[in-house]
């Protein structure tokens, strides 16, 4: 994967300064706090971060899926090929979600309607967006099931979700999401609820479909192994912000933010000699009812400085297309980022050389 060609691929989706809040009885939760990113045609952007950091909310707000109230998009823009699409509809009223952007979810077991056949659920998208007749759409649904490598697709299309296994349900979800040939597929933790062998099959399937259809994928995950295997570009999210963005190689081999370094060090390896303990990041993420005034990672950062307490770090370019929000990269800072690489950076399993 070449970092330079990534940048020449056309920008499909351009999100700028997205801010999302939730009103709760306890106060306002600042779930997403000014997130910007670009998605390039045919490429995979992975958004990684721990639970509750705002990954899902980011993509769901772009799709117009966050329940409102209590959720609301406070600021920012999301443009698909230059057209504003917040709420899943373009400015001229065209419905984008389901047709130009498809989405799959974490738990395939509960993400399908239990009282509707798989075939009908796939066909439905085609009927609505393409205006196909029911029988026409159903025929195509069978083809889609075949494309996602489900055996006996015509028999399977007549079955209900409870007759499917978890992996097959996720395949059906994928068939449903790509039915209208979307240019972007959002995969919100697509393999978290599946066992490892199935995980691997689903990821292969996603990559093959991406290659065949030149489809961009926004992959949301907390599994760095999955990121290493799938991603062209990576955004590391923490407490509603992107702390570091760059190509997968940038993120893994020249991590520029202490949080990214911490995540890398926390990754278990399966090398024999490394009988070392897991290295967790101490502490827990900040309370998003009242986000800290300075760097969100301040309280847990082993390199925290006085400046980090009250001044939010701006984005520093640390390479072509590689950005990080960390004061360590300020020109006046005496400490250098090389100090961060305290953990032996092991070669990543699953990552192509």
């Amino acid at each position: 994967m070449n970092a330079v060609t990534d940048r020449f691929a056309p920008v499909l989706l351009d999100v700028q300064d997205l801010e999302v809040e939730f009103d709760t009885y306890g106060g306002t939760v600042h779930a997403v706090r000014g997130v910007s990113f670009e998605v390039h045609a045919g490429k995979t952007l992975a958004i990684v971060g721990e639970s509750g950091c705002g990954k899902s909310v980011t993509v769901q707000s772009i799709m117009g899926l966050i329940p409102s109230p209590p959720g609301r998009i406070v600021g920012g823009t999301a443009k698909l090929r230059g057209k504003e699409i917040i709420d899943g509809v373009t400015t001229d009223g065209e419905i984008v979600r389901g047709s130009q952007i498809g989405m799959i979810f974490q738990d395939p077991m509960t993400s399908l309607n239990p009282t509707m056949t798989i075939g009908d659920q796939i066909a439905e998208t085609l009927q609505v967006h393409r205006g196909f007749s029911h029988s026409q759409a159903l025929r195509l649904a069978v083809e889609l099931l075949e494309m996602t490598r489900i055996n006996e697709p015509s028999r399977r299309a007549r079955q209900y979700p409870f007759e499917f296994s978890g992996g097959m349900l996720q395949r059906s979800m994928i068939a449903m999401a790509i039915a209208c040939g979307p240019s972007i597929l959002i995969a919100d933790e697509p393999t978290t609820a599946l066992d490892v062998t199935i995980q691997s099959q689903i990821l292969d399937l996603l990559r093959d479909l991406q290659r065949e259809n030149n489809m961009a994928i926004i992959l949301i995950t907390h599994d760095l192994g999955v990121v290493a295997r799938m991603a062209d570009e990576v955004a590391v999210m923490y407490a509603g912000e992107f702390l570091e963005t760059g190509t997968a190689d940038d993120i893994f081999y020249s991590s520029a933010h202490p949080y990214t370094v911490g995540l890398r060090a926390a990754m278990p390896t399966n090398r024999d000699e490394s009988e070392q303990d897991l290295m967790p990041i101490d502490g827990s993420p900040p309370d998003l009812f009242a986000p800290p005034p300075g760097c969100a990672y301040f309280a847990r950062c082993p390199h925290a400085m006085e400046a980090c307490r009250n001044d939010p770090p701006p984005g520093f370019a640390v390479g072509s297309g590689h950005m990080t929000r960390c004061w360590l990269h300020h020109a006046d800072c005496s400490r250098r980022i090389d100090d961060l690489h305290y953990a032996a950076a092991a070669p990543l399993e699953g990552r192509d050389a």
Partner: protein, 310 residues
């Protein structure tokens, strides 16, 4: 499916036999007998009558005779109403009760689903608050109160317009049926509304509705195909017991609205200790309810593929 149906039917027969046995002995345990209501009769006449009706035999023998006759489809002759067989009474009056019950359950079911969906849609807004207030009223006020209030309202309404908009009581035409079936279905409707509301609220925030939204489907399609059908399932489950509630509630409503249904005879029979009529109507109602519950259970399989049986 066929195996399941047969098993359910056999279980149903056992249930009905149990109902018959329990009623028989409970009824005989009540002090007095059907002949007590008549004017003073001499010992001899009394003995003759007892012999004629078989009341002189020991209770277990009476029981065996009764069950034997019942199996032949003969419920015997009424004590209180001369020369009228219980079979005739049921044949003549049950259709009236059945029509009333069907109308009431239709009204309760449709109303419950509609109002339940509506309150869930407008959760914590005005329509929800108003309907939920009425629902609490509907659940807590017994049907005979609504029956009387309904009649009172109808009398005033008819007087106001100077013509009979809806008849206050009686039976015969469709307009006679409206008021009593509304009154009869009201409590059940209120109950179903609550059930539908909570079921709908749960489903609206379910994963598969989110999936449906992510597919860019229009709101009406999501509502009909994804929310409504799944939300109805718990309502269908309680339809069986609801039929029981409506049928028993029907006894009172029939009395208040002067409807010649079976319920009236049932109540009368209990007051007069009319053994054969009590037994006949109880067993018949019991069998009817058991059958309806089986039908509802089979229907459930049509709506929810997960409980469809091989």
């Amino acid at each position: 499916m066929i195996r399941y149906t047969v098993i359910r039917l056999i279980q149903g027969v056992i249930t009905v036999w149990f109902i018959a046995t329990a009623t028989f002995f409970a009824m005989h345990a009540v002090p007095g007998d059907p002949l007590m209501n008549d004017k003073a009769i001499s010992e001899e006449i009394r003995r003759n009558l007892e012999a004629q009706y078989g009341l002189d035999k020991p209770l277990p023998v009476q029981y065996v005779i009764y069950i034997g006759n019942m199996l032949k489809g003969d419920f015997g002759i009424s004590f209180a109403q001369e020369n009228r067989s219980v079979n005739d009474i049921i044949r003549e009056h049950f259709p009236v009760s059945a029509i009333l019950g069907i109308l009431a359950i239709t009204f309760a079911g449709l109303g419950g689903i509609l109002f339940g969906a509506l309150t869930a849609r407008y959760r914590n807004k005005m329509p929800d608050i108003v309907i939920m207030f009425l629902v609490i009223l509907g659940i807590s006020v017994p049907s005979f109160v609504f029956a009387a209030l309904g009649q009172f309202a109808l009398v005033n309404l008819n007087a106001f317009f100077g013509t009979s908009i809806l008849p206050v009581a009686g039976w015969g035409t469709l307009s006679h049926m409206i008021a009593p079936s509304l009154v009869l279905g009201l409590g059940t409707m209120a109950f179903l509304t609550r059930l539908m509301r909570s079921s709908m609220l749960e489903i609206v925030s379910s994963d598969y509705v989110r999936t449906a939204r992510s597919k860019g489907l229009p709101t009406t399609r999501i509502f009909l195909r994804h929310e409504l059908r799944n939300a109805i399932l718990p309502v269908v489950t309680v339809l069986g017991p609801s039929i029981a509630a409506i049928t028993t509630g029907g006894f009172v409503v029939e009395l208040v609205f002067a409807i010649p249904g079976l319920g009236r005879y049932f109540v009368q029979a209990v007051q007069q200790l009319d053994y054969t009529v009590i037994m006949g109507t109880t067993v018949f109602y019991g069998a009817f309810l058991v059958f309806m519950v089986i039908v509802v259970d089979l229907l459930y399989g049509l709506i929810d593929p997960r409980v469809r049986l091989e």
